[in-house]
Amino acid sequence: MNHLHCRIFYRDEDYLREIRAGGSRAEMAISCLYLKYRKRTITHLKKVVAKHTEFKAVPEDLLHDSFIVMLDKIMDSSCEIRTLAGFWVGIGKHLLLNQLKKDQRIILINDMEEIYETQAENMEWVVYDTDEDELLEKAFASLGARCKEILLLWINRHTMTEIAQVMKLSNAAMARKTKYECFKKLKELVRTGYIAGD
């Protein structure tokens, strides 16, 4: 990543605008945003993690997870963001506390059987969530390489014209059609996976 490219971004508003625009503009803004606040955020998160010795994960993982959550929140235009650095740290702290609560819950279940019944519902959700992710990952992995690439471009909000250019398709309409077919295929794989799982 060439740092010189990041000089076009000055304020948080520039990052928000570019990330929300999606596509290749967003890709560059994401890298630049990460590089801009990475050091500051990891320093904050390391301090927080140091206070919670029971937290097992490394601060870098927390940094990455919170960054991804932040990107999703940025995409959701309704979310009001004052400063991106503060927002990132806030999400990181929130994720850490959530993870601690989750870990505590699992420990309690292991140690005290009488609590198991009261927590069972939540635990089921946790297990179900992991299983669901596995199923979904498997479904996506079953797709062809071309379909995977098109769907990833689509989810990253590249325009159909951009997708057509990247995938060397004749035009935007062709890209739209291919994306439609691929998504349909994926939905079918997800549905089949769930039926087989049941």
């Binding site: 990543m1 940094l63 990455h64 960054f67 979904l136 990952e137 996506f140 998504f183 939905k187 997800v190």
Partner: protein
């Protein structure tokens, strides 16, 4: 509603780009028709499966950025450290050579002080010799020159050579290796037999050595105002 239009609405709903009117329409359709609700549900799951892959790729990208950043930092710090060390070594070396080749240092190194041995050799004018030596050691080179001029005019040849040598050293310390001084030194080297003559030659060679020319000569010409401070 036709299927293609519904799929488009669902796509917009998943991407979060749907407008309020279409969102209400889709939510109403979902509430009224279970087939639509199930279609949206499956689409959400499919969308989530792509998101999981996207997040995985994004994590890899962030790790790469981390690696590159730490590599750049390490490279920058090591590069900075090496350059800083090189500069320090260069300054130290320059300082040492400047001191070594400084005319005053050369004169002090080669000056023959008045001791018991020399006093036996020269046998007389002890006080004048002692006084000249003290003047030289106190960096009062002008006084030392005056006294060695008187001592050099004596008839004793050993006293003459020694006084002449110290006179040349005092002149070197006072004015540096001027052309006049070099001519006088050359004359002394040719006229004086034995070890003193050899010593004079070696001192002259020092001023013509490439190291002296490289380190001291440009400094004396171009940075004459900086020279005394550096020395």
């Amino acid at each position: 509603m036709e299927e293609l239009k519904l799929d488009n609405l669902i796509d917009q709903y998943l991407l979060g780009t749907i407008n309020t009117h279409d969102k209400l329409l889709l939510e109403r359709l979902m509430a009224e028709d279970t087939t639509v609700a199930s279609k949206v549900q499956i689409s959400k799951l499919a969308y989530k499966s792509i998101m999981l892959e996207r997040n995985k790729l994004l994590r890899e990208k962030l790790r790469t950025l981390d690696k590159n950043t730490s590599y750049e930092q390490r490279f920058a710090s090591s590069w900075f450290g090496k350059v800083a060390m090189l500069i320090v070594v260069f300054i130290l070396l320059y300082g040492l050579l400047a001191v070594y080749f400084c005319p005053v240092s050369i004169a002090r190194r080669n000056f023959i002080a008045f001791t018991e041995t020399t006093s036996i050799q020269i046998q007389r004018d002890d006080d004048a010799w002692r006084s000249a030596t003290i003047a030289f050691r106190d960096s009062d080179f002008e006084k030392a020159i005056q006294q060695y001029v008187i001592l050099a005019s004596g008839s004793d040849p050993s006293q003459h050579h020694l006084a002449k040598w110290n006179l040349l050293m005092s002149q070197l310390a006072a004015d540096g290796p001027s052309e006049h001084w070099q001519i006088a030194m050359q004359t002394y080297a040719f006229q004086t037999p034995g070890s003193m003559g050899e010593k004079a030659h070696s001192v002259l060679e020092l001023f013509h050595s490439p190291v002296y020319k490289f380190w001291f000569f440009p400094l004396s010409r171009k940075f004459s105002s900086l020279k005394p401070r550096l020395i």
